[in-house]
């Protein structure tokens, strides 16, 4: 498992664990970023743009660091 901010643009990932504080994790889940879902990195320049399902999420670096993903 890697933190989300270490991935590269174009990579496909599985969201494994939302290690951020509870409130932020809640928000992410509501926006469709739940554990186990498949995602794609659109761009990663410290801040990350992540596509999960049909949702395109922009996530700050700090938050990205606490999201653990695995490459598939």
């Amino acid at each position: 498992m890697y933190p989300l901010n270490t991935t590269n643009a174009g990579e496909k990932v599985f969201i494994k664990c939302l290690g951020c504080n509870c409130q932020d994790a809640c928000r992410l889940r509501e926006m469709g970023c739940v554990e186990g879902i498949k995602g794609k990195i659109i761009s990663n320049n410290s801040n990350v743009v992540l596509q999960v399902g049909d949702t395109r999420l922009a996530i700050s670096k700090k938050l990205a660091r606490s999201i653990l993903v695995s490459l598939n």
Partner: protein, 715 residues
Amino acid sequence: MKNQSLTIALVGNPNTGKSTIFNALTGLKQKVGNYPGVTVERKTGFLNLNGVQHKIIDLPGTYSLNHKKIDERIAYQTLIGEYQHEQTPDLAVLVLDATNLDRNLYLATQVMDLEIPVIVLLNMSDLAEERGIKNDADKIQKQLGVPVLPIIAKNKKDIEQVKQAIAKHDLKPPAPLRWKPEESLSNAINEITENWLKPHTNLPNRAYPIEALRLISDNQVPDDFHNHPRKEVAQEIIANAQAEIERAGKNPAAAEVMARYDFIESCTKNGSTRQDEAETTSDKIDAVVTHKVFGPILFVAILLLMFQAIFSWAEPFMNLIDLFFVHAGNTVAETLPPGILNDLLVEGVIAGLAGVIIFLPQIMFLFFFISILEGTGYMARAAFVMDGFMTRIGLHGRSVVPLISGFACAVPGIMATRTIESWSDRLITIMVLPFMACSARLPVYALMISAFVPNENVLGFISLQGLTFFGLYIFGIVMAIAAAWVMKLFYSDGSSTPFMMELPSYKMPKWSAVFYNMFERGWIFVKEAGKIIMAISVVLWFLASYPKVDVPPEIANNPATTEASFNAQQSASSYKLKHSYAGQFGRFIEPAIEPLGFDWKIGIGLLTSFAAREVMVGTLNTIYSVGEEKGSVVTLQEKLIKDKDPETGEPIFTTLSAISLMIFFALAMQCMSTLAIVRRETNSWKWPIVMFTYMTTLAYICSLVVYQGGLALGY
């Protein structure tokens, strides 16, 4: 149900087209834009169906009922019937984005749990089809047990169907969904409901499960309990409930979400399919627009282009308007018999209006650009790209959208800060937002620049006037940044939340909406400015024309060369002006503003500008029209340049005093509506007073330093 007037709420995720549908149903013109968080307050309108009038409520978008921000709270409270003692709506129209059903259904299941009758609309079916996403509306309808309609909001026929569905609805609450919280979670819900919600809160019954789930998934007892006398009790009950879920090996924060998503998956499995994603155009654009280096460069370049365009593209139109008013003034002056009415109309009303309306083209170009930025989906990217920088200076990525709105007007900008979660981030954004150069400052800047900045090019192609104009915008931005940075040192409650935002897919802006918005805002500008200016210029004309004094002969009988007679005219009429009521008053306050390089005429202008900034220009035009010979076609710019101190013969205005004036306008808090909205949004008089004091003091000091510094350096 027949012949019953209903209250119908439009609910859905942000940016799903609620306001578009609201407008189509009610015929109103709510703001629509392609980014999350366009609507931040409730709007109501009416729909007439078969002779019955229904009340339609447009709500801010929200991802869930687990509200954290003000805009989301409004949606939640409306739905559970807690909003200003209103009843729960009779019908909720759930507007879902058909290109993203799974995520949108999450909110839908929560709303259905509230036992409100619903209709589900799968909006943006055109986009879904374009992207090869197929949704089986029938299957979803069967699973949810409520009417489900795929629609395209801008299709008249589809809106007709929505109306039919409303008229046909039986208004029965939906049957309970088949999503089941597993055992430990439902025990926890019961525990919280029985031990806390029922005895200690006065929420309506239907809200218990949703509220209980919210408390379970939130780690801290939410803010609304902070002042509750039995706060500790709540904390203990919630902690127990959470512990129970944990004992069952589940994550309390995720249990609800997971269970709902499982249910949703069962609804849409084989019901909606999508082609496997190839790289789309949006992907390619985003790779550049959100790039670490190119992103910010692009952002600055777009702003630069916008300001440059406002300044140079508007010019031909401004000349036309100018010409029109000069002729109108002369025609009126010639047709009406000479006398008070003639003077009042020509020197008071027409001059005052002309001074302001000439800036209409610039205002319209500004709104044209902002509408395009809002319509394409770029706003959300701008917020994302600037987040790193914003965080460093004490703001938040989400502050970017309100700040950009601030270029148009601080009032909607301050409203838009409702999308910022943390109170300190939001407050600081509100406090620095009026530094953004709003459209009311445009007239003052444009007047001063065209009169006192040479119309030359630097490096051959960049106009010096355009550059100064851009410089003033940058100055406002820099001051906002500096102020935010300082405020962060004093005021921070450590509640900052990391940035996350949905990026909507790019759309072509709807041109009809862009042009509508441009003309609408132009009209509002004329109407508002017109109203104030009519009133002020009439009063001002009177104050500037009376009492009529006799001009001493040594001023009236100057030698009769052409040049000198012009000056003699000038000084004879300016002598009268100086001794009028307005002149006396202006000279009374002159000592306070003289160190900034302003004379008493500017002083009068400054005073009236506290009603609204753009009034300054109308005021100057009126004052200078009173003090001039009849039938003149000289523009206000020329009058300002030619104005000389009758005693010393020195020009009243220099480039330096013009700069000082522009700096004052850039920084001073001269807008009643802004103060009123800050009062409303912060719910106290403290912050508007702080805002007025600090901004106006800063303006005075900066102008003073620039003017006196400039003088000392020999300018």
